[in-house]
């Protein structure tokens, strides 16, 4: 009998993506507050991270309910006021914890899975820093 189905790899990556996306949101807020549309577009422009932009909004609401981010309204130069998101202290802690765990996890998986782990890691690092 089959224990590994053909779509399994994609499924695994999609689960990973789901689990890590909220920390990517927190990471984007590390350097200061951003408004929702800006967050969503930045995330959706990172290759392979978000399939449908709309699914990020429920995540933003959840982060706010869990008090990892707080929100504030601010007038914009053009158009209606915007809702800005910023990290709370709990959000900063969650992000720091995740960053440590993730780096260890990523290095371990890369060392086993990726033959040229160094080059791909470097590129991803640049991507996130921007």
């Amino acid at each position: 009998m089959l224990y590994m189905e053909p779509g399994q790899a994609r499924n695994t990556v999609s689960q990973l993506r789901k689990g890590t996306l909220e920390y990517c949101v927190l990471a984007l807020l590390r350097d200061g507050r951003r408004y929702a549309f800006e967050l969503v577009r930045t995330l959706s422009e990172a290759d392979g991270l978000v399939v449908s932009e709309g699914t990020i909004y429920p995540l933003l609401s959840r982060l706010r309910r869990d008090r990892l981010v707080s929100t504030s309204w601010q007038e914009s130069e053009a158009g209606p006021p915007r809702r800005y998101y910023q990290l709370t202290d709990a959000g900063k802690r969650a992000l720091a914890d995740f960053s440590d765990e993730w780096t260890r996890f990523r290095d371990a998986v890369d060392a086993l899975v990726a033959p040229q782990a160094e080059t791909t890691q470097g590129e991803q690092g640049d991507e996130r820093a921007r």
């Binding site: 009998m1 709309g54 699914t55 909004y57 995540l59 609401s61 053009a78 158009g79």
Partner: protein, 160 residues
Amino acid sequence: MNVHADPLVDDYLRRLDAAASALPAHRREELAAQIRDHLQEALRQAPAGDKAAVRTVLERLGTPEEIAAAAADPPPPGQPAAAFSQVNGLAIASLVLAVLWFAGIGAVLALVFGYRARSQIKNSAGTQTGSGLATAGIILGWIGITLPVVILWALPPGKL
């Protein structure tokens, strides 16, 4: 452009409202407001009635059903396996064949399916159930094979 008057946007928001009907009212309203703001922001530069621009923005958002599904509460950790667990089909087949017997062939197949079902269930990490059924199929399968043999053995020759 003002998205509030656009028929494509209206239709999309209606579908979103329907898809999110299981959410508590305040969460549903929050989601609708977020999506409305997104559309307003994304289409700010687009001229009124620019259908192609609206379609592109809606496509990037994903289907309303997808968004509503993402907004639904995830199952509590440890629960998802149980929520999706299903009875192993081979386990059922094993028990049914053992009962039907079919001149012994059913009993043999009941054993084959029963053992295979048990190993599948064991490897399914809780997503499959029915190991009791499979065991019943195996026991009845063995009875279905040994009993006729014993009876044939015990019968005096010539009576057959």
